[in-house]
């Protein structure tokens, strides 16, 4: 799979706010985004305050396809 060079000069991971509060710290700072843990790529819903992961799913590494 081939990709075009981005037109933006800087690149940020899209972080989508998610409603509700963190089950661990109670903050309303849940967000959905991609990250890499020790076994590879995940899409997570994660608290931006205490870093607790509310949910996660394995996704394909972007160079191997869309994720």
């Amino acid at each position: 799979m081939l990709f075009p060079q981005p037109t933006e000069m800087t690149i940020a991971e899209p972080v989508d706010p998610v409603g509700g509060t963190c089950g661990e710290c109670g903050a309303a700072t849940l967000a959905r985004y991609r990250l890499v843990d020790y076994r590879g790529w995940l899409r997570v819903v994660k608290c931006r305050s205490c870093l607790a992961v509310a949910s996660s799913e394995r996704v394909v590494a972007p160079p191997q396809g869309t994720s």
């Binding site: 800087t10 690149i11 991609r34 843990d37 076994r39 205490c50 870093l51 590494a61 160079p63």
Partner: protein, 618 residues
Amino acid sequence: MSTTATDRSVPYAEEVDQRYGLDLTTAEVLRHALRFVALQMQLKINTAALSPLLNETNDFGIGLLAPHAPDRDLDFDAVAMATSAPAHYVINQFYARMAIERWGADRFRPGDVLIYNDPYQGGSHVNDVGALMPIFHGDRLMGFAVSITHWLDIGGPVPGGLGAGLQRDMYAEGIKLSPRLLYRGGELVQETMELFTEQTRIPDLSLNDLQVIRSALQLGVDMAERYIERYGAETYIAASQYTLDYSERAVRRALMEIPDGVYEAEDHLDNDADGNPMLLRCTVRKHTDRIEVDYSGSCREEWFGYASQWSDTVSAAHLGVGAILESIGISPNAGGFRPIHVVVPPGSCLHALPPMSTNAGHTMLFTKALNLVKLAVSQAAESLAVGENYDDVGVLGFAGMDTRGPAPAPFVAMRVYSGPYGGSARGDGCSFTLVEGGNCVEPSLELDEISYPVLMLSKEFVADTAGAGRHRGGPATRALLVPRTDVESIFQLDQCRFPTKGVFGGLPGSRASITVHRKALDDWSAGRDLGPGEVVAGFADPQTGRPVRPDTEGARFMLSKRAGVQFGTGDVVVFQTAGGGGHGDPAERDSADVRRDLRDGIYSSEQAARGGAIDKGV
């Protein structure tokens, strides 16, 4: 294992028995045995390989993957790695496991060796060749012995690879192998071997070193199988789980030492292929025993080698955190990676997407990504802060025809250069060590001079280059090299444009540079002054090519990473690293330390040691 913090890094015996079904002594014996196996495999490479990158420099990673046992949360995780090139041992967790998934775990038979080097499959760059061999107990697959070795040449248009400016995309990088068998049931697969002997510039080395890799993997397999035979398969599996959990527990305990918070840092790579600086950003979020490293905001990937793989960046983030926690001495394995999450946006220079070339970007961007973590966490507390070290794997390579023997022979001579680290709360920065991701050593000068038609005239520290501070950075190192035949070169040396950073009042170190004195070997031999030379990398007068200060009107920046630059017989090439950044106010430097610096030639005057005007390099 639990994801909450513990106040102990070592579990009690009854906990080990209850959780793993092991007595503590057996668990500890096998935990150390796994690491011992990896170290023995490393020695095998050191003692038998012909490539200086393998027999001396240690530019490889080698070790064991655990069994696959879902009930114990094991999935061929990197359970034990040796001490060579940490960048490689972290990547084994992705590179090897993705190769196994692609090949199919159920296809392996005893004696097979799989080989692969597609960097877009969890790797680094095409010169880093992955290989693995299955461990069996009867018919039961019990894990793998794995290696990543840096190949001195992998074919393609640029001898030695690292072709910044010449390799536009991944199609110009050399041979790239999807996973395939190098050995089938212990028998060499000749066609695979011939890919290396026919398509690289190092057929003799390849012929030997591919067999050495197999030999080292076989050693790991034999030793692991011996332990499995002695202790039993279930005990070996339980001990693998214990070993991974042990490192996780130790890292989580160590993370508690970092104050919770959000810390940001930015830096620049000297240039892309067009000469533009490349912005790199890092945000570190830390809470209790969890940490997230986010590289959002970094500049986009650029053609001609200015991009790196996500797996490289993840490896850098892990090692950056590890460098901050270095006093803990944690055995590296995938368990230690569990508390660390990394955000690395696709399409950024730290996460290339096909068909970008990552051959050159591997070393320079890896090192930047690692140091960014240190710079960010430096803001958390003065006790954790470190001045910036030289942060590229400084490389200078020559390729040409060696005419010293009975018949001309092609050669590729490449050295990686150690350099200085920044000062810290503990003391001055060390003067001469390779960047953390490399942990390599420079090969013997004498052996290099025998092996290749290249002379090393001198290598020494340079006065007034260390960033001043209460604890200063290490000084720059300057090396003088002379090719004895006409050569083309590759070089990468960052911080020729942007000097290292000091922290908490510490000052920057000097800039790096490469210059050349044409046909000057006789002058050097006669002790004559060589003068300023001609700038190869750094700031130059556009009319004369001589070095000038960066703020000189009209100063032109000569790219600090290039390939294909020609040098002639007898040219004296001067390769100088950056100086390390300082830590703390230099006015507070202990007087005895200043006297020692003057005695050792680190500074030429007390004024310089106290942060007065010194030459930051031109």
